[in-house]
């Protein structure tokens, strides 16, 4: 099914982590590079701390906005558990960027389930090509904890065939001017982490 010329990417995490902005930047970058782009996002409840996935597909001609399981070339996860939860999306040989950040769900705090402590080895098992990045530290070094999304995006960009100029232009278009510098810095740091 998957047309060789279509690149599929998924971004996952917890509502409120900036997945929609990261997805918008990636879609804009692909469009600036001249591709047809389709994305799909979760709205509404996404702001309320739930598990969230955004999907981006680009190529010469794209029909469906949805990424089929087993077809994503890159998966970016802003949270450990979510990184493992969505692993079936990655295509064979695909690249995964997973943030070391752990956000404990209320279900764990309420004692109904446990937050697994063995996620790093399990992620290594499902993702032969895994970048396990300390995104939080990078974001805090920059002095803006909200740019973790751009750090992950930067790391993901190393696997995508889009020129670096379009990434910068896309970030400039999508991010408010007062936060532009820290977002650009985060993206560059993300690129250097892999």
């Amino acid at each position: 099914m998957e047309n060789d010329e279509i690149t599929s990417v998924v971004l996952v995490g917890v509502g409120g982590q900036g997945i929609l902005l990261a997805s918008e930047v990636m879609a804009t970058a692909a469009a600036l590079a001249g591709f047809e782009v389709k994305t799909n996002e979760v709205h509404g409840m996404a702001q309320r701390g739930g598990s969230v996935i955004a999907q981006i597909r680009y190529g010469q001609q794209v029909f469906s906005p949805l990424v089929a399981e087993g077809t994503a070339r890159v998966i970016g996860a802003l949270e450990q558990v979510e990184g493992l939860r969505y692993h079936p999306y990655l295509a064979e040989g695909g690249f995964a960027v997973v943030s070391q950040q752990a956000i404990v769900p209320v279900s764990v705090s309420a004692g109904q389930s446990k937050y697994p402590q063995d996620l790093q080895p399990r992620l290594g098992e499902v993702y032969p090509r895994l970048a396990w990045v300390d995104v939080q530290q990078a974001a805090e070094d920059i002095g803006n904890p909200k740019v973790a999304n751009m750090v992950v995006l930067g790391a993901m960009s190393t696997e995508l065939d889009l020129p670096s100029a379009v990434w910068e232009q896309a970030i400039s278009q999508c991010v408010k001017p007062e936060f532009l510098d820290s977002n650009l810095m985060a993206f560059v740091i993300g690129r250097s982490l892999v």
């Binding site: 799909n40 709205h43 409840m45 739930g50 469906s64 089929a68 705090s109 389930s113």
Partner: protein, 538 residues
């Protein structure tokens, strides 16, 4: 110029370009961003959130009778609320173009049911347009305005979640104003459906429907893509996109305007292929009609009725049709992830509703909830909502439960917007019929106790800002003083996402905490203290 727009943004752009001057609506996912984006054109378009969909619809009807081009927006269940004006507007007809933009939610991402709005179009005997991407979403607004004015009919533009919330490129155009001057023209036999005139309108509705069906056969919204003729597929809306990926070689009749049914086009396509498959999300709306025409086809015998479609699900349909084994594209060596903690959406940290639900955990009462993000109070550890039906239903159901003789006290919970939407009429009923339910939004247990021990109806209004709108801190952020904490777990019963109970002593996430102090109120040993900036590294 080309822009990446969501379907909802594209509809807003379409309304602007099509010369719309009045836009109304009531919010609800996945429709909300349509009106939010129309509001950016406030110099050209009067735009309002109305208290409910019926009011929004009627405001737009009034405006359109002056010749103004209008759109009204809502989610699928909102059209139930606006069904009364819809059914008779079909008889009266419109002056300026009138589009009801209704967003369905297959898969129930943010909805309480999976109803299919196409049935409403047939019920009201009016056209329905179904865009498959953002460009069509924009273009179909212009088309729908043209058809609406040409035939004086209201029109439904039906999207689904994957059209409303997917981005794709759109070529923008210029705004075209309506040539008609605004002004209401007195014409009672056309505008007043008392029986003597209503019966004539009834005949005109049928005549209009026949003309619309002919027009639909010629419309640019419908097209045949001839390829291999051994299999022909009829698809509408976003299902078309999945069909093109799962069946790249098949001939396709793509319907953007499926009702009134374009019979000649359906027949022409069916005659041109060896076998026919109808792929539609949700109900067998098209298939039933095609079979009634005497055309044999596959449809819901192989395509799922429940939930969303996708390329993957259509590949399964293909395998089923060919009698092949269904295979998954996902990598075979998958690990077991059944132990991963679920992460449903939760009430935000600092949400003023949390105190209400927490307070209710202290009482043996029946709690009727309502539609809104506070429905999240149903999840553990709060677990304090017992039934939800529809907008405003919590208040009326509370009265019904009480009147039936339920021995426990009954409490209805409603948000402010839902209260004004349709909760207030239920409250009028409780007072008029001397009920004894307690209707609340409250964060104070003392007030609570008094109300719940009373025999009279109570309305308690608790005021607190939505933390999503007011992003400011409510007070200093807190942290747990590990020396004071006795690890009793009371704060974890609040279900606050900022309090992480991974270790014996709970930890407050610095960035999620809004300083609402609810945890400090329930802590028996005052272990919550102001957080220090330097301690947030964890």
């Amino acid at each position: 110029m080309k822009k990446l727009l969501s379907g909802n943004e594209a509809i807003a752009r379409g309304a602007y370009e099509a010369g719309v001057v009045v836009a109304t609506g009531y919010p609800g996912t996945p429709s909300t961003e349509i009106l939010e984006n129309i509001s950016h054109y406030k110099d050209q378009i009067y735009c309002e959130w109305s208290p409910n969909e019926k009011v929004a619809f009627e405001v737009a009807v009034g405006a359109c009778l002056t010749g103004a081009r209008c759109v009204v927006t809502m989610k699928h269940v909102g059209l139930n609320v606006a069904a009364d004006p819809l059914m008779t507007l079909s008889y009266i007809g419109v002056e300026g173009g009138f589009i009801a933009c209704v967003a369905d939610d297959p898969g129930m991402h943010s909805s309480q049911n999976e109803q299919d709005t196409r049935h409403f179009a047939r019920f009201a005997k009016i056209p329905v347009f179904e865009p498959a991407d953002s460009q069509e979403a924009k273009d179909f607004i212009q088309l729908a305005i043209d058809i609406s004015e040409k035939y004086r009919t209201p029109v439904i533009l039906r999207t689904t979640t994957r059209v409303s919330h997917s981005r794709s490129s759109v070529v923008e155009g210029e705004r075209q104003e309506s040539p008609r001057a605004i002004g209401f023209e007195k014409n009672p036999s056309r505008h007043v459906p008392i029986p003597v005139w209503g019966r004539k309108m009834r005949v005109e509705v049928e005549e209009r429907l026949a003309l619309l069906a002919q027009e639909a056969c010629q419309s640019s919204a419908n097209r045949i893509e001839w390829k291999d003729r051994s299999l022909g597929i009829i698809a509408a809306g976003v299902a078309y996109q999945y069909v093109r990926e799962a069946f790249p070689d098949a001939s396709v009749l793509k319907l953007g305007w499926a009702y009134p049914f374009p019979d000649q086009l359906l027949q022409e396509f069916a005659d041109g292929v060896d076998s026919l498959l109808v792929v539609e999300e949700l109900e067998n709306f098209l298939e039933e009609h095609i079979k009634a025409m005497g055309i044999a086809c596959d449809g819901k015998n192989v395509v799922p009725t429940i939930g969303e479609l996708s390329t993957e699900r259509l590949l399964e349909v293909k395998a089923r049709l060919n009698g092949e084994q269904i295979t998954s594209l996902a990598a075979e060596a998958q690990v077991d992830i059944s132990d991963l903690p679920m992460r449903p959406p939760v009430l935000c940290s600092g949400c003023p509703h949390r105190g209400v639900f927490y307070g209710l955990t202290k009482f043996d009462v029946v709690v009727t909830g309502d539609i809104g993000c506070y429905s999240l109070g149903v999840f553990p550890p709060l677990n304090r909502t017992d039934v939800i039906l529809c907008m405003g239903g919590g208040i009326s159901m509370a009265h019904g439960i009480e009147r039936a003789g339920e021995p426990r006290k009954v409490v209805g919970i409603v948000g402010d917007s839902t209260f004004f939407h349709s909760g207030v009429t239920g409250l009028l009923d409780i007072v008029y019929n001397r009920g004894a339910s307690t209707i609340i939004v409250v964060d104070n247990q003392a007030v609570f106790k008094q109300a719940l021990e009373s025999d009279e109806p109570w309305l308690i209004i608790s005021e607190g800002p939505c933390v999503l709108k007011e992003r400011a801190l409510q007070g200093p952020r807190l942290q747990v003083d590990a020396e004071k904490c006795i690890q009793c777990g009371k704060c974890l019963k609040l279900g606050c996402p900022a309090i992480e109970g991974l270790e014996a002593t709970p930890h407050v996430d610095f960035y999620q905490c809004t300083g609402c102090r609810l945890c400090a109120q329930v802590c028996p040993v005052d272990a919550f203290v102001a957080a220090e900036e330097s301690d947030h590294g964890k």
